[in-house]
């Protein structure tokens, strides 16, 4: 029973990820999603089960299409300085940029599935940094650099894009030296 899916599911997930990134989980109503995605409410529930189901799909999409490719690119940089500059400029970016950080400080606290996706993304970042630094995964230096990337991204979100560029350059210069 029921109608065929009359919409592009991948496109709907992409649009939802951008909305959630912009407005946060609680700040995005089902009305916002119905309007922003251009789908019927019934279809939305039928395909994703719930707003949470759609959010998990959106976060998964952000990881697969935006976070993990950026992280993979770090391992082919010339060294720690370039990797840091690249990560500080692009980690958790893309059309749904910031969704990961907002998930980390928001839904992850109460939702284990969201927490697992956040851990997956941060784990991938740390593994890439470990490769670049030629350090074992889990070494304090790797974690410190990973935390710097997260902090710099958060700082840029709060104070404006690229306001942390001088901090990135200073740290990168130390790493290169």
């Amino acid at each position: 029973m029921g109608r065929p899916r009359a919409f592009d599911e991948a496109e709907a997930v992409r649009a939802a990820a951008a909305l959630f990134a912009e407005r946060g989980y609680d700040g995005t109503s089902v009305d916002d999603l119905v309007q922003g995605l251009g789908v019927h409410r019934g279809s939305l529930y039928k395909v994703f089960g719930s707003k949470r189901g759609l959010y998990l799909a959106a976060l998964r999409h952000h990881l697969d299409d935006e976070v993990l490719p950026t992280v993979a690119a770090l391992t082919v940089t010339s060294g720690p300085a370039e990797a840091l500059a690249q990560a500080a400029a692009g980690f958790d970016g893309g059309t749904s940029g910031g969704l990961l950080l907002s998930a980390a400080v928001g839904q992850a606290a109460t939702d284990p599935d969201v927490a697992a996706l956040v851990a997956e993304a941060v784990g991938a970042l740390e593994r890439a940094l470990a490769t670049v630094l030629r350090e074992p995964v889990g070494s304090p230096l790797v974690e410190a650099l990973g935390a710097s990337v997260l902090g710099l991204r958060l700082r840029d979100r709060a104070f404006g894009p690229e306001t942390s560029a001088p901090a990135v350059l200073a740290l990168a210069a130390r790493l290169a030296g």
């Binding site: 029973m1 029921g2 109608r3 109503s29 089902v30 009305d31 119905v34 409410r41 019934g42 529930y45 039928k46 994703f48 089960g49 719930s50 707003k51 949470r52 189901g53 109460t110 939702d111 284990p112 599935d113």
Partner: protein, 117 residues
Amino acid sequence: MARLTVDNGTLVVEIEGLDKLWAIKSRIEIPLANVRGATADPGVASEPKGIRVGGTQWPGLITAGRFRRHGELVFWDVKNPAKAVVIELADERYARVIVEVEDPRAAVALVEGALRH
């Protein structure tokens, strides 16, 4: 108003008070395996309901009972749209159950939490 409880792998939706009269059915039991999720959705009440196939509808006052739209059967019990929760089902008579609850946030957490276990 409805009360949601989870008991032994089953989601129980109990319609309380006078709503029992309007809604025809006062208790719905759904195995958690057939529950896909729950969402607090104040906007759902302004959607077209479709054709009533049992129950009561006084527009703007109460929507209670079974409604059919686009081939889907939906159970409604909503007076105050601000407290509406949408429970999406699979392989059940109803495609979804839309009920008013005392605390939508707690109700959603109860259902979504139960689905994770």
